[in-house]
């Protein structure tokens, strides 16, 4: 009995944890101070909308129940009230002011690229990314992995569920150090792309002939996955982004090995 029970429990547990992701309904909290700020603001506004919805939908539902002709309701004849118009104009204005203050503050923080410790140049290509560690002479392309690429071919008959991190895995991930304010410059080689990392709450368009700028600082080690977020042609859905966040020491060692690789 026990011989069967353990594997079954193990399997059920695997389904539990595997499926938790499959029913995700919300933004990730993420691993940067900005992503947490954005998540909190998102939830704040969400609950305000729920509150307004409850009030407004509540009034509609009560009206539909109480004032039915089949219940003998006699219609009133009033049809305007300047006071009502003022009240339901002013209250929404107040709500908007309340929302706009934290939003404006967040925006100012996001646009503040001062005090960055390193710069990475990101270039979008049809259909892959190129990463360039500015000043370090390290640069490489980052493309969808072979296994994903085979499975995604039309009528490949390969079940995507058998491919690990299907469509979200690359051959050469971007490697960065934790707890470091990193500036990114982003451009494109051909058409407009967009670099989106949900866990960092970073999304910026890559525009050919122009350079955009932003920053992120990741608080936690780990591997994070994102995708191109601007239609860029047939393989727009097949040029993912993977970032591996290492400790500062591990990052320094990796950077050295890349440079040694270059010079040999």
């Amino acid at each position: 009995m026990k011989r069967f029970l353990m594997p079954v429990l193990g399997w059920l547990l695997a389904i539990e944890t595997a499926n938790a992701d499959d029913w995700a309904v919300n933004l990730p909290v993420g691993v940067t101070d900005i992503s947490i700020l954005i998540y909190d603001l998102h939830m704040f506004i969400f609950w305000i909308c729920v509150g307004i919805g409850v009030a407004v939908f509540g009034a509609m539902i009560i009206a539909m129940i109480k004032f039915r002709k089949s219940k003998g309701a006699i219609p009133a004849t009033w049809s305007h009230s300047t006071l009502a118009e003022i009240i339901w104009t002013v209250i929404p204005i107040i709500i908007l002011i309340v929302i706009s203050v934290p939003a404006a503050r967040a925006l100012i923080q996001i646009e503040d690229t001062r005090g960055t410790e390193m710069t990475i140049k990101i270039t979008g290509y049809q259909w892959k990314w190129q990463y360039d560690y500015v000043g370090e002479d390290v640069s490489f392309f980052s493309s969808l992995t072979q296994t994903s690429n085979e499975a995604r071919q039309l009528r490949s008959d390969i079940d995507p569920r058998t491919v690990e991190n299907y469509l979200l895995d690359v051959d050469h991930p971007l490697i960065i150090p934790v707890d470091t304010k990193i500036r990114y410059l982003i451009t494109a080689n051909d058409v407009i792309h967009s670099w989106w990392m949900p866990a960092f709450a970073v999304k910026k368009d890559a525009i050919p002939g122009f350079i955009n700028e932003g920053w992120f600082q990741v608080n936690e080690l780990g591997t994070y996955r994102g995708q191109c977020a601007e239609l860029c042609g047939k393989d727009h859905g097949f040029m993912p982004i993977v970032v591996e966040v290492l400790s500062k020491d591990d990052y320094a060692a990796w950077l050295r090995s890349q440079k040694d690789g270059n010079s040999s």
């Binding site: 309904v25 004032f67 049809s79 996001i110 955009n212 860029c232 727009h236």
Partner: protein, 536 residues
């Protein structure tokens, strides 16, 4: 036949029918009722053409992996689905309502420019056939999304100039129709109806017509600049030549944002006609509703870059567009509150038009909430170009715009045909549609927030469950609309005879003419008396 001076001099018992019969009648008609019918039938057909493309999209997205189409064709479907639904379905639908109902509502014998009216319509099938034909050209149809961003759109094959020309034709059709509507409303209204006394549907079309004239030429300019860059060596949108791809986005969205209000304002107008009738109570805040509509139209000009928060806009720009976009929530909210107040202490019945109008109130409001969230620029960095956006605009366009059009259809079908439609079938159609539309689009909020970008033919495995739901919903929604076609067909053919009033004491000049409305109405200007002193 257009209403000539001689006709108006005739005694109003002398009714002329159509000048031709058969195909010629429909090709050469200048009668606003015939042209309204042409627009509406065309739009219903386009619902299924654009809908079929949506089903190709949803079939591919039913499961992870690519089963049916290659990615480039998928993008062609995405692009044409939107262009056909926006320019071939929803805009012509509301133009059809304008043609049928505006002259009736203001006591005019026809539109001011009846021959222009005919042209405005017949441009549409030509434009749509041209656009659809690009599917069969080398390189296929445009696959850049309906937003046509360069440089990507310049990678379109032979189809490119034909697609641009089709967009021009669609724009010209709208501009001519808009001119016609403004001239009709301002000049041919019965003298006893002041501007502020006009029904909300007429007001909403008056304002929409000004929006159309203001922004369709801007789209025309933008796509012509694309044509120039492609064929005549200019570099408006190419950095190498000193231009900027983002310039196109500014031009496109300066058109594009007012465009979405062009789509929704007539829908608002229809809702403002339906709810008072089935509440047996006048529209609450008639004047406030007019001012709110005008405010929305004005504000729609100064929010366009909220579609562009991720292009690398300076902080001041992001701040301005965030705040101006939030402002639009105010007059929109005012309208929702006024509709609710119309129902409050009314005497409600729930015939099919009212069901669609109430569903509009609930579901458009949900679309409005996601819109408010997207207005917050820092949040939009996470939402932009994801399925959260797709969910938002489908909620405002489908249970928003389309439900208003379908509701208006049920509401005025008896006036147009002289028969009541089958109420039981109408209710079945409503519930099937309402349930499936939510099954289709609500889960898209979830996958968008969870990380799924838009305009992709295949996705990571964690998005599979909600995508499967959405695809099932889409097929259910699509096939349920066949019931609408059947209901309309049966109603045209026969049914319980409709009275002039059709409903329970509705307000409006259209209910003072017989059902079906005679080919020529109001050859003499009627006397309009507002029903309540209250409604000024």
């Amino acid at each position: 036949m257009s209403a000539t001076a001689a006709d108006i001099q005739d005694s109003h018992d002398h009714h002329h029918g159509p000048a031709h019969t058969g195909i010629k009648r429909w090709l050469f008609t200048t009668n606003h009722k015939d042209i309204g019918t042409l627009y509406l039938v065309f739009s219903l057909l386009m619902l299924f053409v654009g809908g079929a493309m949506a089903l190709v999209i949803r079939a591919e997205l039913f499961q992870p992996g690519l089963q049916f189409v290659n990615p480039d064709f998928f993008n062609q479907m995405t692009t044409l689905h939107a262009l056909i639904m926006v320019f071939g379905m929803i805009m012509p639908a509301f133009a059809g309502f304008a043609n049928w109902m505006v002259p009736l509502m203001i006591g005019a014998p026809d539109m001011a420019l009846p021959r222009l009216n005919n042209w405005s319509f017949w441009l549409l099938p030509c434009a749509v056939i041209l656009l659809a034909s690009t599917l069969f050209m080398p390189g296929g149809a445009p696959a850049s999304g309906w937003t046509l961003y360069p440089p990507l759109v310049l990678q379109t094959g032979n189809a490119f100039p034909f697609a641009i020309f089709a967009v021009h034709l669609l724009g010209i059709s709208s501009i001519m129709a808009a001119i016609n509507i403004i001239v009709t409303i301002l000049n041919m209204r019965t003298p006893s109806m002041s501007l502020l006394q006009m029904p909300l549907f007429v007001w909403s079309w008056l304002i929409t017509a000004y929006l159309l004239i203001a922004v369709m030429p801007v789209l025309a300019g933008g796509v012509t600049m694309l044509l120039m860059d492609q064929f005549f060596g200019t570099s408006f949108f190419s950095a190498a030549g000193g231009g900027d791809p983002v310039l196109f986005q500014h031009i496109f969205w300066f058109f594009g944002h007012p465009e979405v209000y062009i789509i929704i304002l007539p829908a608002f107008g229809i809702i403002s006609q339906i709810i008072p009738t089935f509440s047996r109570k006048p529209l609450f805040g008639h004047s406030a509703m007019i001012y709110a509509t005008a405010s929305i139209a004005f504000l729609s000009f100064i929010v366009w870059a909220h579609h562009m928060f991720t292009v690398g806009m300076p902080l001041a720009g992001q701040m301005f567009f965030m705040l101006s976009t939030m402002l639009i929530a105010i007059p929109t909210g005012v309208k929702i509150f006024n509709w609710t107040a119309t129902m409050w202490e009314g005497s409600l019945t729930f015939e099919t038009p009212m069901l669609f109008a109430i569903a509009f109130l609930f579901l458009f409001t949900i679309g409005g909430f996601s819109g408010l969230m997207m207005a917050m620029a820092p949040l939009d960095f996470q939402y932009h170009d994801t399925y959260f956006i797709v969910a938002h605009f489908h909620y405002v366009l489908v249970p928003g715009g389309l439900f208003a059009a379908i509701g208006g259809c049920y509401y005025w079908l008896p006036k147009w045909t002289g028969h009541m439609y089958n109420e039981t079938l109408g209710k079945i159609h409503f519930w099937l549609t309402a349930i499936f539309v939510n099954l289709t689009f609500f889960p898209q909020h979830f996958v968008g927030l969870a990380g799924m970008p838009r305009r992709i033919p295949d996705y990571a495995v964690q998005f599979a469950n909600f995508n499967a739901m959405s695809s099932i919903g889409a097929f259910g929604f699509g096939f349920s609309q066949l019931l609408l076609v059947y209901i309309i067909y049966k109603c045209v053919k026969g049914g319980d005879k409709a009275t002039a009033e059709v409903w329970d004491n509705p307000e409006g000049l259209e209910w003072t003419v017989p059902s079906p409305a005679p080919y020529h109405t109001f050859d003499e200007a009627p006397v309009y008396k507002p029903r309540f002193e209250d409604t000024h």
